[in-house]
């Protein structure tokens, strides 16, 4: 009996009662407990009263300007995003259209320089070959 009462005094039982989550039989048993337990009765009364007060509370109407303000803020963000996207697009176009072209030309130039040096080397080699033997070339450090 003591154990049973202890369970009924638990704060989750009071809350379930307040929320109307107890079954019919449980509610009946709990209500008879409330008649005997003044502490629980006081708690249940106060919680019930508060629940009702909060339920009855009427929020003031939202000021209309909230929507206008939010919408203009959103438009500002959207415009900023559009500008940022346009700037990014311009940068990408510039990079691929100009910088990459510049890099390509620079690479071409390097290739040409390399080819030129190769040709020069062959010309030197051919020139020397006419007058010297292979051993002489080796000794001259041309290999």
């Amino acid at each position: 009996m003591m154990e049973e009462n202890k369970n009924k005094c638990r704060f989750d039982t009071i809350n379930s009662h307040i929320d109307g989550e107890l079954s019919k039989a449980e509610t009946k048993a709990y209500e008879s407990h409330l008649k005997d337990c003044s502490e629980c009765r006081k708690k249940a009364d106060t919680l019930g009263e508060l629940k009702l007060r909060f339920k009855k509370y009427n929020f003031s109407n939202p000021p209309e300007k909230i929507f206008r303000r939010a919408f203009s803020e959103y438009s500002r963000i959207k415009t900023f995003r559009r500008i940022a996207l346009s700037a990014a697009a311009v940068f990408i176009l510039f990079y691929f259209g100009f910088v990459r072209e510049f890099e390509r030309l620079h690479l071409e130039e390097q290739k040409m320089e390399y080819l030129h040096s190769e040709i020069l080397e062959v010309e030197i080699y051919n020139g020397i070959e006419e007058d010297s033997s292979v051993i002489d070339l080796f000794l001259a450090g041309k290999f």
């Binding site: 708690k43 106060t46 508060l50 009855k56 509370y57 929020f59 939202p62 909230i66 939010a70 919408f71």
Partner: protein, 149 residues
């Protein structure tokens, strides 16, 4: 819905206005990303609660939000009107407890809906609401708002 959450959690009309417009901006921005995994109502509540709580945290850091000082209390023997009483109790709760009370008692949401909004288990939601109610009850009695001095 958004306004009630903002006003309930900030307990201050000017701050609620700022917070609510932040919520709307987020809703406009994120609407395309709404996947439909939860209901639209749950999604709006989730965005609203998170944005308002972040707003309060940000404002507290800037120390511009001092709600308790903004309220002018009259004598505790005075019998408060319901609106007054509710607002006074709310202003004395911390944001976490306020959130649970606003969602459950003022918006009338079920434990399941609250657990979806806050991403918590139903058991955790219940425990938090019971604790918030206990705190609310203590404020109600201790401050004499129940008129039974």
């Amino acid at each position: 819905m958004v306004w009630n959450i903002a006003l309930g959690i900030t307990s201050d009309e000017a701050s609620a206005e700022d917070a609510a417009s932040e919520v709307f901006v987020k809703l406009f921005k994120k609407y395309n990303k709404f996947s439909g995994k939860s209901s639209l109502k749950t999604w709006i509540y989730r965005v609203a609660v998170n944005t308002v709580l972040n707003y309060v945290k940000k404002e507290k850091r800037r120390k511009t939000l001092n709600l308790k000082e903004n309220l002018t209390y009259s004598s505790s023997t005075e019998k408060y009107e319901n609106k007054d009483t509710v607002e006074r109790i709310l202003s004395e709760l911390d944001e976490k407890n306020k959130t649970f009370i606003v969602l459950r008692e003022m918006q009338g949401l079920s434990y399941k809906e609250i657990s979806d909004i806050l991403g918590m288990k139903i058991g955790t939601v219940k425990t938090n609401i019971y604790r918030a109610r206990e705190k609310m009850k203590n404020i109600y009695i201790d401050k004499g708002y129940d008129g039974r001095e």
